[in-house]
């Protein structure tokens, strides 16, 4: 039997000196070899793991036959952002987890194949599908992350007039300001956004819904429905003394400066960034690993992930944990910072306490408990806090009658329907921090519901 085809990657010693993409993708030969591993199951379990329900064996069969055009067309029936999903989806927890081959050995590399098909199409020239006849209905979308982009693409294809309102100066959400260049090149995001625009979606940047214009004003101005895909925003801090010292960053600020503002090219770009030699990143999700690897590339010598649980509980994508370890990022496990100490306004040391793991908590993970008297210090000159983010609050605060949870997420059903008629929501703003593909799935289901809603209204 053929073994799972590995992807070529840049050498770790070379790549930590630049922001180039680490994984290089498949060539056609490798892609076909990998596609041949698929058993073409009659009852493809892999599809259960895909929130947007791509016909996985269908597109893989086309790759196997060397018919790459048909492969990408098949994917795009369900997924408008395959170049992105093929790079950042946690496939080991999704489609690949459910692949029958995973039971005995290595699952089919579905993500790599998706990426291959999409990159192939891009080189060749992208096809723009025809859309339905104009419905005369208008939909406003707040936020241009994966949820908003997906909802917009689906709705425009159905013939509705769609406008996305984005608060920042560039669309893409986390894809643009969060996930770094070396995992998801901005060119790839740009090209996917360009595709959405060519489908006919109007994207207006510099528009903060809730400040520049409210959701209700949009409805009054003649939009027939609104989809809220504003994602997760405000970073959480630990709430320990010294956290406002200089060079203590939230991961969001750190990554926004680097990715959105291109601070790594300062002074060619105007936004500055600063890292010391010894960097401690608090947390162990995708965000933490992205921040740690970014810090290395900005010249830090010694970068560690400081995590209060053990290696087993690390929530980041496994590939990225490996990549980070290859690049020299250290793990300091079962460690919780309790205080930050500074000198001349800048952080210098972190007081930490050792943790031990108790019984599983509500999340199913074992609860970390501080070990009495185990305090110790870590010398550090930069701290990046990556312990999670709250939902973006602006629309919730300025839209009367929009129900939210105590955590601040918008209450919505499976199809994005909120407590307000005509207002739909999906993605991280509903679920809290999740994944790109889940946000896309939510955008997709909401688009269906919005289509039904505005067509129903027509009859009145």
């Amino acid at each position: 039997m053929i073994a799972r085809q590995p992807m070529l990657e840049h050498d770790p010693r070379e790549r930590i000196r630049n922001f180039d993409e680490v994984a290089l993708g498949y060539d056609a030969e490798r892609a076909v070899l990998e596609a041949e591993r698929c058993l073409q199951c009659e009852n493809p379990t892999c599809m259960k793991g895909c929130p947007v329900n791509i016909d996985i064996p269908g597109f893989i069969a086309h790759i196997k036959e060397g018919n790459f055009d048909l492969a990408i067309r098949k994917i795009k029936e369900k997924n408008h952002l395959p170049a992105i999903c093929g790079r950042v989806c946690p496939v080991k927890d999704q489609c690949e987890k459910f692949c029958v081959l995973a039971k005995k050995g290595e699952p089919v590399a579905i993500g790599n194949l998706e990426r291959f098909a999409s990159d192939y199409e891009w080189k060749k020239g992208v096809e723009i599908p025809r859309k339905a006849e104009a419905s005369g209905k208008r939909v406003a979308i707040a936020g241009s992350g994966p949820a908003g982009l997906t909802a917009a693409a689906d709705l425009v294809k159905l013939g509705h007039e769609v406008t996305i309102f984005e608060a920042l100066h560039v669309p893409g959400g986390v894809l643009t300001y969060g996930i770094p260049e070396f995992r998801l090149p901005k060119k790839v995001v740009e090209r996917e956004v360009e595709y959405i625009k060519r489908l006919g979606v109007d994207i207006r940047t510099d528009m903060v819904i809730g400040r520049t214009i409210t959701a209700d004003e949009l409805l009054r101005q003649g939009f027939d429905a609104i989809f809220v895909g504003t994602g997760a925003g405000p970073p959480q801090f630990l709430g320990v003394p010294g956290e406002n010292l200089g060079l203590v960053y939230s991961a969001n600020e750190f990554l926004t400066r680097v990715n959105l503002m291109q601070a790594y090219e300062f002074p060619e770009y105007d936004t500055p960034i600063k890292v010391g030699k010894k960097v401690a990143v608090i947390g162990a999700g995708n965000v933490a690993f992205d921040a740690a690897r970014t810090a290395l590339r900005l010249g830090a010598r010694d970068v560690s992930i400081v995590y209060r649980r053990s290696e087993e509980e690390i929530p980041a994508r496994i590939e990225e944990v490996h990549h980070a370890e290859e690049e020299g990022v250290k793990l300091r496990l079962l460690t919780l910072p309790t205080r930050m100490l500074g000198e001349g306004g800048l952080v210098r040391r972190m007081e930490c306490i050792k943790m031990s793991l108790g019984k599983p908590d509500e999340s199913g993970r074992r609860r970390p408990i501080p070990v009495k008297g185990s305090e110790f210090y870590i010398d550090t000159d930069t701290v990046i806090v990556a312990i999670g983010r709250k939902p973006n609050p602006l629309i919730q605060q300025t839209t009367e009658g929009l129900k939210t949870t105590s955590w601040g997420t918008i209450v919505a059903d499976d199809f994005g329907q909120t407590s307000r008629s005509g207002i739909f929501a999906g993605g991280d703003v509903v679920t809290g921090e999740a994944t790109v593909i889940e946000a896309m799935g939510a955008g997709k289901r909401a688009a269906e519901a919005i289509d039904r809603f505005i067509k129903q209204r027509k009859k009145h």
Partner: protein, 282 residues
């Protein structure tokens, strides 16, 4: 989308006033709010207070003090030029109502952000005393506008070239010593000035609002670059402020955080000045 400079006026050698075409922002703007602006593709995002808004003309007024690379670059733009991004209004408006007697204090280019507050407070029926200060008379701005909207008006300059010689707090101190009833003090200006004002009013327990100016990036609550400590709690200035109770603000922390990028800022400015070279026509 770009945002056009409708008009430009020099208020002082290093302080320029711009009217910017931004109809949606103009319609929504309230006293106390600000915008984030980015000049060009490689530019940074900087916060600037909305000094005035004119919904009919679809324009807002910004007053910019040239202190570094971006503000200098902005200062060189002229009527008809455009900037690439302008987003707002951001931050919380001030709670404008009748307080009684209000003292409005503006220091340096801080007079620009205090002006819309002064105007709104006056309109709401308050008795307004204004104190504006600068290093020297050339740097005094919006003198006429401030005087027009105040019942009582004072000028101070550090070098005594106009008005009282000394600091804005000297006048405030005098008003307090005279036993004047003061219901609210609003102060905007350099950090040491705001701190001095808050220290002056604290013993008398006079409510004092300051408009904080930490470093910002997104300006809508997503990064925490603008965090400040107010009453021992961490607040994000761009969404919880920019106005805060001056008696609760940790000004030393704010001052330290504002200096974080000083070497980088100097470097950027030097590179920029070398680039524009003798072309400096301002």
């Amino acid at each position: 989308m770009t945002y056009k400079i409708v008009s430009k006026k020099e208020l002082a050698p290093t302080i320029k006033m711009f009217e910017m075409g931004a109809p949606v922002v103009a319609r929504k703007a309230k006293a106390g709010q600000f915008v984030i602006l980015r000049i060009k593709e490689r530019g940074e995002r900087i916060p600037l207070t909305i000094a005035d808004a004119n919904p009919e003309r679809g324009a807002i007024t910004l007053v910019v003090e040239e202190i570094g690379k971006t503000t200098k670059e902005l200062g060189r733009l002229n009527e008809g030029d455009s900037v690439l991004d302008l987003v707002g209004p951001l931050g919380n408006p001030m709670d404008i109502r009748k307080y009684g007697r209000v003292v409005c204090i503006g220091g340096g280019s801080g007079v620009a952000p205090v002006y819309p507050l002064t105007k709104a407070l006056k309109k709401a029926g308050n008795k307004v005393t204004s104190i504006i200060g600068a290093k020297t008379r050339e740097l005094l701005i919006l003198e006429g506008e401030m005087q027009e909207t105040s019942d009582e008006f004072y000028i101070t300059t550090d070098d005594g070239s106009k008005g009282h010689r000394g600091f804005v707090t000297d006048i405030l101190r005098k008003l307090l010593d005279e036993g004047k009833q003061i219901d609210l003090v609003v102060a905007v200006g350099p950090v040491p000035m705001m701190k001095a004002v808050a220290d002056t009013t604290k013993p008398n327990k006079i409510r004092t609002l300051v408009s904080l100016n930490p470093i910002m990036v997104d300006g809508m609550g997503m990064c925490g670059a603008c965090r400040v400590t107010v009453g021992e709690k961490t607040k994000f200035t761009c969404v919880d402020g920019p106005l805060f109770d001056g008696h609760l603000v940790d000004f030393d922390e704010l001052a330290a955080r504002r200096q974080l990028y000083e070497p980088e800022e100097k470097r950027a400015l030097k590179a920029y000045e070398e680039k524009i070279g003798g072309a400096d026509d301002s």
